[in-house]
C-alpha cells in the first residue's frame, strides 16, 4: 500500500510529463545545445562525400568577429529600437481596449474590426505597408509629397527604414494587446468600480488606481508577448526590405538567417554565434518573466 501511493506520488507526474518532456528535449534543449556547439566552428553547411562533418573548430573566433562586424552592431542597435518602440503597443492597446469597452449597439463588430490586423498574416501586413510606403504610387509617399512637396521613400532611407517597419509591426501587435486587455476588462470586478465611484474616483485616477491593478495579469502577458515579438521580428524585415537599404534595417534574427541560410550565406558557425547572442538576450527577459511568475505563485 505504501509503495503504491509512493508510485502514485512520485512516478505518475513524471509519466504524465514524459511526452511533453520528450518533445521539449528533442525540439528545444537538443537544438540549443547543437547551436551552442556549432557557434564554435567555421562550417559551410556541407558534408563531404563520406558524409563526414567538414567544419573547423575555431573556438570563440566567431564571437570575436561579431564585435568588429558593423552589420552585427547595426542589427543589435535595431533590435534595441524594436524593443523600445514595440512596447508602445501595450499602452496603445490598453487605450483602444478601454475605448471599446462599452455597450453600444454593434460594439462586437467594432471590436472585431479593430482585431482584424492581428488575423492577417505578417507577410500580408508587410506587403500592405510596402505599398503604402512605395515611392511614386504609395499613399504615404503621396501624402508626404503633397504636404512637403518632396516625397520620402521610407524604405529606401537608412534613417527612417527601421521605424517604418516597426510601424507596420505595431499595427497587428496593438490589436493583439487590445484583445488581451478586452478579456481582462471583462473580469474587472464591478463592485470595486462602483465603490470607487461612490468615493468620487473617475477618469485617470479610476484607471490608474482601480482598473489597472486588476488588469495586472493581462499587462504581464501583453509585455511578455510584445518583448518576445520584438526580439524575433523577422517576417516584416524579410518581406519589406530584406535588410536593406545597404543592410541598415537588419535585426539579429534576420542577420542570423542571412549568414547561415540565405543564398549568400552558409556560414553556419557564424550564424549560430548570432543565434547564441540572440538567445542570451532573450534569456534575460525570459528568466525575468519566469522568476516573476514563480514569485507570484509561491507568494499566494
Amino acid at each position: 500500500m505504501a509503495s503504491r501511493s509512493l508510485n502514485q506520488r512520485s512516478l505518475a507526474p513524471w509519466l504524465f510529463l514524459a511526452p511533453g518532456l520528450a518533445m521539449f528535449i528533442v525540439y528545444v534543449i537538443w537544438p540549443i545545445g547543437e547551436s551552442l556547439l556549432l557557434s564554435l566552428y567555421d562550417w559551410d553547411g556541407l558534408y563531404n562525400r563520406e558524409g563526414e562533418f567538414t567544419g573547423r573548430f575555431v573556438g570563440l573566433a566567431n564571437f570575436e568577429e561579431l564585435w568588429s562586424d558593423p552589420a552585427f552592431v547595426t542589427s543589435l542597435v535595431n533590435n534595441v529600437i524594436w524593443l523600445a518602440l514595440y512596447l508602445l503597443a501595450v499602452p496603445a492597446g490598453l487605450l483602444i481596449a478601454v475605448f471599446l469597452n462599452q455597450s453600444v449597439r454593434g460594439i462586437r463588430l467594432y471590436k472585431s474590426l479593430f482585431f482584424f490586423p492581428f488575423v492577417i498574416s505578417q507577410v500580408v501586413v508587410g506587403l500592405i505597408f510596402s505599398w503604402f510606403y512605395a515611392p511614386n504610387f504609395g499613399l504615404f509617399y503621396m501624402i508626404i509629397e503633397w504636404v512637403t512637396g518632396q516625397g520620402v521613400a521610407i524604405l529606401a532611407e537608412e534613417k527612417y527604414v527601421t521605424y517604418g517597419i516597426i510601424a507596420a509591426g505595431l499595427w497587428p501587435q496593438i490589436a493583439y494587446v487590445m484583445i488581451l486587455y478586452l478579456t481582462g476588462l471583462n473580469n474587472v470586478a464591478p463592485d470595486q468600480v462602483e465603490a470607487a465611484r461612490l468615493d468620487g474616483a473617475k477618469g485617470w485616477r479610476m484607471l490608474w488606481y482601480v482598473i489597472l491593478p486588476q488588469l495586472r495579469p493581462a499587462t504581464f502577458i501583453a509585455v511578455v508577448v510584445t518583448v518576445i515579438g520584438a526580439l524575433r521580428s523577422f517576417d516584416l524585415v524579410s518581406i519589406m526590405t530584406t535588410g536593406g537599404p545597404f543592410g541598415s534595417s537588419r535585426v539579429l534574427s534576420f542577420y542570423m538567417y542571412e549568414q547561415a541560410l540565405s543564398e549568400y550565406g552558409y556560414r553556419m558557425g557564424y550564424g549560430a554565434a548570432i543565434a547564441v547572442v540572440l538567445f542570451g538576450i532573450m534569456m534575460i527577459f525570459i528568466s525575468g518573466f519566469i522568476w516573476k511568475m514563480w514569485r507570484d505563485e509561491t507568494e499566494r
Binding site: L46, P135, A153, L155, G244, F246, L261, Y264, Y266
Partner: protein
Amino acid sequence: MVRYARGAMALTAALLLSTAAVAQDKRILKYNADYDPIPLAAMEALIADFEAANPDVDVQLNNFDHEGYKTAIRNFLTADAPDLANWYAGNRMAPFVNAGQFMDVTDVWEANGLNEALASAKASMTIDGKQWGVPYTYYQWGIYFNRDAYKAAGLEAPDGGVTWEQFLANCEAFKAAGIDCLTTGSKALWPVAGIFDYLSLRTNGYEWHMDLTAGKVAWTDDSVKKVFAEFAKLQPYVTANHAAIDWQDAAALLVQGKAANYVMGNFAVGTFKEGGMTNDNLGFMVFPEITPGIPRAEEAPTDTIHIPAGAQNVDDAKKFLAFVASADAQTKLNAALGQLPTNKNSTVAADDPFISAGFESLSSAYALAQFFDRDAPAEMAKAGMEGFQEFMVKPENLDAILERLESVRQRVYQ
C-alpha cells in the same frame, strides 16, 4: 498478421515484376534540376531526343522549385546523389568542387572537342585546371533602352552603341527633360552589381576585374577608386529611391518612358514586352567603352550541369553531358529557352533582334564574366553589392565603404 505479410509479399512481388520489366533493358539516369515551366518543357524535349538516341537509357528528371533547389542540393549531394545535377559556373560551384561533391569531367571535354566548341565558357568551368561540368545556356547583359524616351528628350537613339562621353551627355539631356537616364531597382541588391561589373570591366579590363573578384586587389587601391570615379559620373542620373523598388518596378519605369536606359540581362526582355514594348521602341546596346583600347569583355551568367561525386550511373551521365554540349542540342534547347547557346557552332534565331545582338556581342567578346555574385565568393558578393547600393545612394560615403569591403576581403580570402 500472417495475412498482412502475405499480402505485402504479393504486392512487393508484383511491384518487382513490373519494375523489372522496365529495368530489364533500360539503365536509369537520375537528374535533379530546378527548371521553371518554359525551360522545363525545353529540357524535356532535349531529354526525349537523348533517349531516342540512347534507347537503353531512361532519364528520370526530378524537378525542384527554383529557390528550394539551392538548399536541397546541399543535402541530396551527400544523402542521395543523383547522376546529374543543375548548378552554376564560376565561384558558385567552388564550394561543391572543393568539398569533393562534383566529379571531374575533363575527359568529357577532351573526348568531345568541347575545349574548342565551348571555348568562351571554359574559363568559368575550370577550377585547378580541370573542368567540373558542362554549360548549356547563357544570356547577355547590356543596356536596354527606350527609343521613345530618347525621342522625347530630343536625342538620337543609340543603336550600335555610343561613347561614354556621349552617354553621359545624353544623361544630362534626360535630366533636363525629367527622365531618369539610367534606372534600376536595387531592393534585391543584384541589379547594381551589373552596373558595377560593367564599369569595372570597361575601366580596368577583364583580367583586373577577375583579380578583384578573386580577392587579389585591395578595395582601397587606386585602381578601384578609378572605377568609382566613373561610377560617380553616372550616379546622379540613376532613378532616385532605387533601393526601395524591385527590378520589375524599374522595368515599368523604362516601359512607361520615365526612364531611358536599363543595365540588365536578356531575361528582362520578356518583362519589357509584357509591359507593352515592341522591337520598335525597345533597343539594345553593349555598355559603352570607357578606357580606350581595353578589349571588350561582357557579362554572361552561365547555367551548367554537373555529375555529383556520388553518382551511380557515371557512364551514361557523361554521355548525357556530351549530348547537352553538342551544337545541335544546344541550338534546339536555347531556341526554346529564348537564350544563347554556349557552343559556338550552334545557331540562333535571326528574327529575334535581342538574341542575335546578344549572340553577336558574346561571340565577339574578348572574355566573359559570370556576374559579381558568381565570380566573387558569396560573402564578398553580398558585402560588395551592399557597398555599391550604398554608394549609389550616398556617394560621399565612398571611403568608408571601400574600407569596409577591404576588411571583408581580408577575412574572406585568407
